[in-house]
Subunit: 152 residues, 5 copies
Amino acid sequence: MKKIGIADTTFARFDMFKSAVDELHKMGTGFEIERYTVPGIKDLPIACQRLIESGADIVMALGMPGPEPIDKQCADQASKALLYVELKKNTHIIEVFVHEDEAEKEELKGLADMRAREHAVNVYDLLFRPERLEEKAGQGKREGYPDVGPLR
Amino acid sequence: MKKIGIADTTFARFDMFKSAVDELHKMGTGFEIERYTVPGIKDLPIACQRLIESGADIVMALGMPGPEPIDKQCADQASKALLYVELKKNTHIIEVFVHEDEAEKEELKGLADMRAREHAVNVYDLLFRPERLEEKAGQGKREGYPDVGPLR
Amino acid sequence: MKKIGIADTTFARFDMFKSAVDELHKMGTGFEIERYTVPGIKDLPIACQRLIESGADIVMALGMPGPEPIDKQCADQASKALLYVELKKNTHIIEVFVHEDEAEKEELKGLADMRAREHAVNVYDLLFRPERLEEKAGQGKREGYPDVGPLR
Amino acid sequence: MKKIGIADTTFARFDMFKSAVDELHKMGTGFEIERYTVPGIKDLPIACQRLIESGADIVMALGMPGPEPIDKQCADQASKALLYVELKKNTHIIEVFVHEDEAEKEELKGLADMRAREHAVNVYDLLFRPERLEEKAGQGKREGYPDVGPLR
Amino acid sequence: MKKIGIADTTFARFDMFKSAVDELHKMGTGFEIERYTVPGIKDLPIACQRLIESGADIVMALGMPGPEPIDKQCADQASKALLYVELKKNTHIIEVFVHEDEAEKEELKGLADMRAREHAVNVYDLLFRPERLEEKAGQGKREGYPDVGPLR
């Protein structure tokens, strides 16, 4: 039995946790899920660290940075700290960030839903079937958007 | 009995410590507060580290970066170091920064007061009732400004 | 018998792994190769760390950052984390990044192929004949592009 | 008997060490001073680390970054490394940087002198009377420039 | 007998190693030199780390970043990692970077030669006569360019 940790925020404007969990359950079984909700994206790194210490074999960090320059800076700080935790704990943390200015409102909901789902597949693959990732190496895969495919 | 550490600066132009403490006491009991005042925001990380070593279960870092590019850079350096302390000590540090150019003077006072208070609620929730945060996940919460709410 | 680790991504639009392996085998023998494929460039640092823990004497990190500012930022975060792993594990990690906006499509394929190959030579040199690098010191060598040569 | 470490550079164009020492001696007694001079600001972090290992209870890092973009970048790198040493050694390092483009030549001398002096007071306060800092919290204190005071 | 480590690259377009060694030998005796050549500036940090582990008492990191924005970013990453090694190993690493766009070609050769030589003097001073640096504190020293001198 594996454990998948999922950290999310009250700052985000869409419940990506629900999308990720729904997709994970479509993929298969053999795992349980633990959630840790924090105020903002800069609180995600410690949430992920604690999820790993609580037994998570892999973690998803769900965040939705705002459109202002300061939001971009916070996202950059959070990303760097997530990488630090990942290396310190030697455990994959899949960062799932959707920037509020990536798309218009209605489209943004679809993007957040799809990105959470497609990264949930990555999480499942890393945990249970890494050979699937190797098959897709260099294939121009994208999460949330259509794949761009390999160069021709 | 829990301990909440609060670090603040002489550089700031508003006493956010007072707002945070007032709000914390409105929330409930079961905690004591320890304060550590330093000259500027770049001194906050070590103040937070020492508060944690002094027994704090969670820390607030109150700062008010100036409006110049160099101030923004200092804030970025301070934020990164706060994240580092947080992960090293495995203890939540809630960064409460109000940028001097976020609003005009009178409005800035209200913003600083409100942000300190709303983050004080986050601190209380993280410490005593994390389930409240989970209920608010993905709800577009903001601190200091009105909530933007979930995408519709 | 040495081990060369190679980490690559499903995000990349060209199979640089194939080029690197082909070139390595042209160089000589005395090594085996282990591969670790991840979704994106920010997952490369932990892949490299795990390859080193799995016995790799040197690692290549193959990535192909997209053309948007956010892609550049991700590449910067990934590079910094790769450096951190390299120093923590005291093992060379050769970063082989090809930016999607470095060249037009057809040319980009050639660039990715050539950069992977020329860095494969660097990897071989670092592992088996470091004196070759010393001979080329200060000679304006470039990987993927023609050498610019020493200043005259 | 406390020890105050002071690191400075040959790159700087004003002897801030002299100003800091003069001011410290005006404040009181009970401390000795150890100096460590290095070529440039990027050498300050290791100088501070060595001063702390040599017994310093607090350190001042005196630097004067040049006006070019590369100088700003070096200052940013140095600042981040100073924060890292501070947290690693759990010892306050007060960064006293005067940017060459902050003021015209004659004014710049006065600024460097005053900033070194006013930060020397901070150092003394942190070491001997931290309650003074608490009294000044949120009061809009500035070092080198006139205080801006609290928001009204 | 002291050991001076020198790390350099095949990317650089001028043999700064030769200049540094020539100048060091003009300064005096009592040291031996160990060289470690790598492909690019981002490989310098691990080269320096290994030189220190091989017994170097101080290290020079010689690099020549290209003129493009990506080159500047690589130089920034390398510089930060060099600082990290320096602090981790508690050993001075003197960064000697010459940016390709600092000067025109012929002038660039002279600049690279002079900067390597003047930093070689710094290395010698740090190792054998630190009091020389203290004498030059605040004097506006520059490496590669004429000294700007103290503010008047």
